[in-house]
């Protein structure tokens, strides 16, 4: 308490210096006068009295000095003095200060941006209560990895038999049509069990969640997202209880979820739901092969993931015994929800973090190098300060203060840059990245930035500070400023920095080059369809009139396709149940002589239902045979078109035409005859090679969701209005999604890779720029120290070309060592990088040699300017000056 009081007193003391100084002077003067008066009273002459009093005082100025030390906070005052001095020093050479601050700002900004992404996506907990207890439950073939959704009857069995879960629920994301008031609108929706909402555990902002009873009785109830409530229903305060049209039927709104709530997204391409409706699930055993419900469970308190995993595996084993026909080839496993939701971004993020750490190291090396060069010109200053009594610690402290000041400026500039960078990055982020909204610069990120800034300042200042503090005063004073020999070890240190910078820059640049090559490989993958001038609009035919009614759906689609083809500019129009590159629908078939065997695991085959014109509209080439004839499908017999991969897989070499396929079931309820083979189209993404696919005629299915594919001679999106009108003219309750070009679909498939690649390229560019600054600085410094040597050489007849060659050779030699080290480092890291690449080896010699040459070029560039300056040295003047 006493100590605190004294501290505050002293803190105040800092601000009243002048007045207190005046008062002290007066007080001491009084003391002296009283002493003199007393001395006179005891019989001295005034002169003697004054002399004796002064003698006795023990030195008035000394007393003032001690008093001042006690009054303020000497440490703080010294720090302020150091800071002032540092500011003066830094302002004296704005160019190198600018280079140092700029380097640091870029390095700090880059790491701050990537950290904010890391924090938002990887570190922050999922936005649900006690998120660590949430797990996803998947099925999979035994001894294989995979994430297969549950079937409806399986869901009931797992839920009832498991002992690990407080609650287990299922969801399937399905877009829905909102009709009724206003234009019909298609919004992302979630068909989910009431138990899922309880498992996730977020209470609604208004109203309530729906209940098991409502679900069991198939009541038409719906939950809205906050955004949808605001946007479509104008934030109606009486929304709860209101009836709205969903998929052509009235639903009662029971609640509104909180603003910003996102339902868990378990698959890559999913977007967050805007409405939640109960899924009317069935326990019918006939559904045991239909895997479509993603399960999320909330673990009971104290139950481990391993226990839950074991639990579901045992249930799966029991079900396999109980239902051998459908379930003998099904196991199950549990996965933490968070690990699942960040699975695709985790690795690239760590990769990018590695790159920015390297970038920051390069920028620190730049600062260290610049400070070193600066300290070279200050031997005289340091020597004078040291001989005036400044201790080594004081000199080192001065240098560290300078560095911290530099770092502070770099940190502030970097933080500002990062705020801009994060905004930019959020705009660039692919829409399907999980939890993008959690990416922002908050207090923790700023704290991180401040920590990094301090560390960067100390780290880059330590070496220059220590070595300057060790300076030999005598020789420095004797030699004055520029010396021939001074700092042989300092040049060695700077050279080591350049070597390290080049090594790191090579690693980053090589990574960036590999990523770029991978990206080009990915977008260069033959898509098998013609993305130009093709566009897509998605429609879900819903409402009682269409549900389960293939004929009604076919009638709608036939009329729609006819009207769309009649639109000006349209060349062809077709329909399909699934789009290329956006994931698949699959099942298994028996091909030709294969026999049904419930214990055998058949490979999954992709399947699409399309209209005959689909292939032409999409630009998918026919390789053999023909396309199906409309109306050719009956209940017992179907014409089938397969892709190249199917033909290769099952009839390698021979023709597929005329061959038969059957459903994978005990009874051959229908037979498919292969009439044509078409070009492969990648189903899952550009990076997953095409798998066998079967196309069937659209009119043979009652699937409600379909995509309208239009090939046009005019910019495709101009057709948007015509398509909407065509749909409305047939059934005005149906909603049409926004039109996309197939080019956009194609780009979407490469979006994440493009994002990562662009960031890597940016970091590599920054790295190269910093390295140029670094080598320029070091070579300039070297040249400056050797001005005399250069002068002597020229006086002895060395030509300008010789001097340029000498300097450039010097710079290149330094960097060559770094490049070699970097190449070795890149090879050592190849196993880490490998999983990020596509179609290029992490040890690709072409890439690494190319990058090495690029860096050599950088070294040449960085040393050329100082070399030219060296060549302009006037031998007469330098020699005379020496």
């Amino acid at each position: 308490m006493t100590a605190l009081r004294a501290f505050l007193f002293r803190l105040i003391g800092l601000f009243h210096k002048q007045r207190w100084d005046r008062e002290l002077t007066e007080e001491l003067e009084n003391h002296l006068q009283m002493q003199i008066a007393a001395n006179i009273r005891s019989g001295m002459t005034p002169a003697e009295a004054r002399r004796a009093a002064l003698l006795k005082s023990g030195g008035v100025e000394l007393a003032k000095e001690e008093y001042r030390d006690r009054r303020g906070l000497p440490l703080l005052e010294t720090a302020v003095r150091d800071l002032r001095h540092a500011t003066r020093i830094l302002r004296r050479s704005p160019a190198s200060t600018g280079a140092a601050v700029g380097s640091l700002a870029l390095g700090i900004a880059a790491i701050t941006v990537i950290f904010s992404v890391q924090k938002g996506i990887l570190l922050a907990p999922l936005p649900y209560p006690e998120p660590d207890r949430l797990v996803a439950v998947w099925q999979r073939p035994p001894d294989e990895s995979g994430r297969q959704p549950l079937t409806s009857p399986d869901y009931f069995d797992y839920r009832e038999r498991s002992r690990s879960f407080e609650e287990l629920g299922v969801q399937a994301l399905r877009p829905v049509n909102l009709s009724g008031e206003g234009t019909p609108e298609r919004v992302p929706g979630s068909l989910c069990s009431a138990s899922l909402l309880r498992a996730v555990g977020v209470p609604p902002a208004m109203g309530r969640l729906f209940t098991d009873r409502e679900e069991a009785q198939k009541e038409r109830v719906i939950l809205l997202s906050h955004g949808l409530w605001q946007r479509r229903f104008g934030g109606d305060p009486n929304i709860v209880g209101r009836r709205i049209g969903v998929n052509g039927e009235d639903h009662t709104v029971v609640g509104v979820m909180p603003a910003g709530y996102q339902s868990p997204r378990l698959f890559k391409a999913e977007t967050s739901a805007e409405v939640w409706t109960p899924a009317a699930h069935t326990r019918a055993d006939s559904e045991r092969a239909s895997h479509w419900l993603a399960a999320i469970g909330r673990l009971k308190r104290g139950v481990s993931l391993q226990a839950a995993d074991q639990d579901v595996r045992e249930i799966a084993a029991a079900l396999a015994k109980q239902y051998p026909r459908s379930s003998s080839q099904v196991s199950a496993w549990a996965q933490p929800l968070k690990a699942l939701m960040v699975r695709d971004v985790r690795k690239p993020l760590w990769f990018l973090l590695g790159a920015v750490v390297a970038l920051l190291a390069i920028s620190c090396a730049n600062v260290a190098s610049i400070q070193f060069a600066r300290s070279n010109g200050r031997h005289g200053e340091v020597a004078i300060r040291a001989s005036l009594g400044a201790g080594r610690a004081q000199v080192a402290r001065q240098f560290l203060t300078e560095n911290l000041l530099l770092a502070g400026m770099g940190g502030v500039a970097g933080g500002a840059l990062a705020i801009w960078g994060v905004a930019l990055l959020r705009g660039m982020l692919p829409a399907t990245i999980e939890r993008a909204s959690a990416i922002r610069i908050d207090g923790w990120v700023l704290l991180f930035t401040a920590g990094i800034t301090m560390a960067a300042g100390l780290l880059s200042g330590l070496a220059p500070a220590l070595s300057t503090a060790r300076l030999d005063i005598n020789s420095a004073l004797r030699q004055g400023q520029g010396t021939l020999t001074a700092g042989r070890s300092r040049i060695r240190f700077q050279r080591a920095l350049v070597v390290a910078q080049f090594a790191l820059a090579l690693v980053i640049a090589n990574g960036a080059a590999l990523m770029m090559k991978s990206y080009l490989n990915v977008v260069g993958t033959p898509a098998g369809f013609d993305a130009d001038r093709t566009s897509v609009a998605s429609i879900i035919l819903d409402g009682p009139a269409y549900r389960g009614n293939a004929a009604a759906q076919a009638a709608f689609w036939n009329r729609l396709l006819e009207r769309v083809r009649a639109l000006p500019g349209v060349k062809q129009a077709g329909a399909t149940t699934k789009l290329p590159l956006e994931g698949g629908t699959n099942g298994s078939y028996l091909v030709e002589a294969e026999q049904y065997d419930p214990s055998a695991r058949r490979p999954l085959i992709e399947r699409s239902w399309v209209t005959p014109e689909y292939f032409e509209a999409m630009g998918i080439g026919l390789l053999a045979g023909q396309l199906f004839a409309p109306g050719s499908a009956t209940e017992k017999r179907a014409e089938i078109v397969v892709n190249r991969a199917f033909a290769r897989e099952y009839f390698s070499g021979g023709t597929a035409l005329g061959k038969r396929i059957y459903p994978n079931s005990a009874e051959r309820v229908w037979v498919g005859v292969i009439v044509g083979v078409v070009e492969d189209v990648p189903q899952w993404s550009l990076e997953v090679p095409p798998v066998p696919e079967v196309y069937q005629l659209a009119e043979s299915t009652a699937r409600a969701g379909r995509h309208l594919i239009i090939r046009a001679a005019i910019p495709p999106l101009t057709l948007s209005r015509g398509v909407r009108e065509a749909v409305a003219s047939i059934d005005r309750n149906q909603a049409v999604s926004d039109m996309r070009t197939m080019e956009a679909v194609f780009d979407g498939s490469a979006a994440r890779r493009r994002f990562n690649t662009v960031l890597m390229e940016i970091f590599a560019m920054l790295g190269l720029a910093m390295v140029i600054v670094g080598i320029y600085g070091v070579v300039s410094c070297w040249v400056a120290q050797r001005t005399r040597e250069v002068g002597i050489r020229m006086a002895l007849g060395a030509g300008r070309g010789h001097i340029v060659k000498m300097v450039v050779g010097r710079g290149t030699a330094m960097s060559a060592l770094g490049i070699l080290l970097g190449a070795a480092g890149s090879l050592a890291l190849s196993s880490v990088v490998k999983s990020m690449l596509y179609g290029v080896s992490p040890t690709s010699p072409v890439t690494i040699v190319g990058v090495a040459f690029l860096l050599l070029l950088v070294a040449l560039l960085g040393s050329a300017l100082p070399a030219l300056r060296a060549a302009r040295v006037d031998p007469v003047r330098t020699l005379r000056a020496g």
Binding site: E27, N30, H31, G58, Y67
Partner: protein, 114 residues
Amino acid sequence: MAEKSDVWQGTLALMVLKTLDTLGPLHGYGIARRIEQTSGDLLEVRYGTLYPALLKLEQEGFIAAEWGISDNNRRAKYYTLTRAGKKQLAKEAREWDQIAAIIARFLSPSEEAS
């Protein structure tokens, strides 16, 4: 040197407190005079020790300072003992007595023999 001045500083603080307790409000010169006289002129109080010590006591809240008019009509800074200072004085005096008693026991050989 540092050690010696510390001990000196500690005892000086006690002497200042005691002086102010005995004589009431007093200026720096008066305090110095009183300490020197009491010590039988064995001690000499320099400005450089006295004024920082006074400042420290003021910062710690044991004494308060105020400008007043001295006997010879000059403006002078007067120091007064505060309540906290009184307590501190009692405490330090007690501690000092204890130390003195302990040291005295060590130094008297007769008691050791008995």
